[in-house]
């Protein structure tokens, strides 16, 4: 799969590129877009296609491997580990959504909205998705 298809990198964002890559792999795995056993693009391929430093890509892959989401296949590269999807703990999923929530909190603060007002606005949105 083309790296540009899987990843969108914003080099000038405050989020380090390695963390952007990690979060996007986690999201793809969790959403099933990267199924178990799927091979990930190589470090070289990502570095070339996205024009980022290869060390940055290696760092993201090593941390994902440490977290047990992907595994190294000798001579072939990295693939999504069996049961990776099931094992993505709530803590990690919360970690993925946290930056967005921080933005919401900052904006709410700017607009002078109270905690209750923000929660009141968010709750129906969650219900619409059938999560309640």
């Amino acid at each position: 799969m083309a790296a540009t298809f899987l990843f969108q990198i914003h080099p000038t964002s405050g989020v380090p590129i390695y963390r952007q890559l990690m979060e996007q792999v986690q999201s793809h795995v969790h959403a099933g877009r990267l199924p178990v056993g799927e091979m990930l693009p190589s470090v070289r391929q990502i570095a070339e296609e996205l024009q980022v430093n290869p060390m940055t890509v290696s760092k993201a892959y090593s941390l994902l491997e440490r977290d047990g989401l992907i595994e190294r296949v000798r001579g072939q590269g990295m693939r999504v580990k069996a049961a990776a999807r099931a094992m993505l703990p709530v803590k990690d999923r919360r970690q993925i959504i946290l930056p967005l929530l921080e933005q919401v909190a900052a904006k709410a603060f700017q607009l002078g909205l109270t905690r209750e007002q923000v929660l009141a606005a968010l709750t129906p949105l969650l219900k619409e998705r059938g999560d309640d």
Partner: protein
């Protein structure tokens, strides 16, 4: 606030070691007992304001200028008396490239190639095509940007182990900058080769560099992984309903703080993920955290 990294202190892994380097021009001290090292295989971006001494640092590193004090070794040799063998493994592209104006580009390339026992003419021919350089053009009428492109091209022909570039993208247009960055990444993919470049354009650095060094007031005030810098420096917004604590400004790592009544906005380094929660509890305050990009971090580091 020097943060020396522990992982690259020793000789075998570093291609450049500068220790206690002081360089003065008349009564102006540009480098002030500066310590700096560059490890093999890294791509390091050297950041600093105009006049911070980036060019002086690079020139001293390569023995093109002699400091009043300190020791410098590059590729394991004293930079003041580099052997021919070491020079053949080095390349330097100055900020302003000057070449013989009456030569054609084709002739400049051949002339430069003749100085090196090993010259990759296939690579150079490929880059001439990719970078849309016409070998029949004369050097004289070239623009600053075209000259810079040519200067970089000439520095790549002998495939140096250590490539030093002074503001390599300053005069390049966006397309040329992208081509240049792609080439740098190609070199970085090799893994053994080392690149050190100065810049004030932080967005380029963010893509291609894995390390960043910040030069301020004659010293390297930060030198570590770029990603760690972004993880370390954050901006916090605080709204404390019972009023801000008096010792707010003495919070460890504080860089720059603006407080007004019950609210404060401040940046700090050495951020830990549990900090916002702790501050919220201790100061009964609402705390939000903002990620900063390199440009913002650069500005925050220059506030203090």
């Amino acid at each position: 606030m020097t943060e020396a990294s522990s992982d690259k202190s020793c000789s075998g892994q570093s291609v450049l070691e500068m220790r206690g380097v002081t360089k003065r021009f008349k009564d102006k001290t540009v480098l002030d007992q500066l310590d700096f090292s560059v490890s093999r295989g890294s791509v390091t971006g050297l950041l600093g304001k105009n006049g911070a001494g980036k060019t002086t640092l690079l020139k001293c590193a390569l023995g093109l200028q002699t400091p009043q004090a300190g020791t410098i070794s590059v590729l394991g040799e004293d930079s003041r008396v580099l052997s021919g063998a070491a020079k053949a493994r080095l390349a330097y592209v100055p900020q302003e490239v000057s070449l013989y104006p009456w030569m054609k580009i084709r002739q400049v390339v051949a002339y430069t190639a003749a100085f090196y026992p090993l010259w990759n003419s296939r690579l150079i021919e490929r880059l001439i095509k990719e970078w849309e350089i016409n070998p029949e053009d004369e050097v004289g009428p070239l623009s600053t940007g075209q000259l810079q492109k040519l200067g970089i091209l000439l520095a790549l022909g002998h495939e140096p182990d250590f490539l030093v570039l002074d503001e390599p993208v300053a005069s390049l247009d966006p397309a040329a900058r992208r081509q240049f960055l792609a080439t740098l990444l190609d070199i970085a993919l090799n893994g053994e080769r080392t690149i050190l470049f100065s810049t004030h354009i932080t967005s380029d650095l963010e893509r291609v560099a894995d390390r960043v060094a910040i030069l301020k007031e004659g010293q390297i005030v930060y030198d570590d992984e770029l990603a760690l810098l972004k993880d370390s420096v954050k901006r916090l917004r605080i709204n404390a309903s019972n009023g801000l604590p008096n010792d707010l400004r003495s919070l460890p790592g504080m860089l720059h703080c603006e407080a007004n009544g019950k609210t404060a906005v401040f940046s700090l380094r050495g951020f830990q993920t549990e900090l916002p929660e702790r501050l919220a509890r201790e100061w009964s305050a609402e705390v939000s955290v903002e990620d900063l990009n390199l440009e913002e971090i650069f500005l925050e580091l220059h506030h203090s």
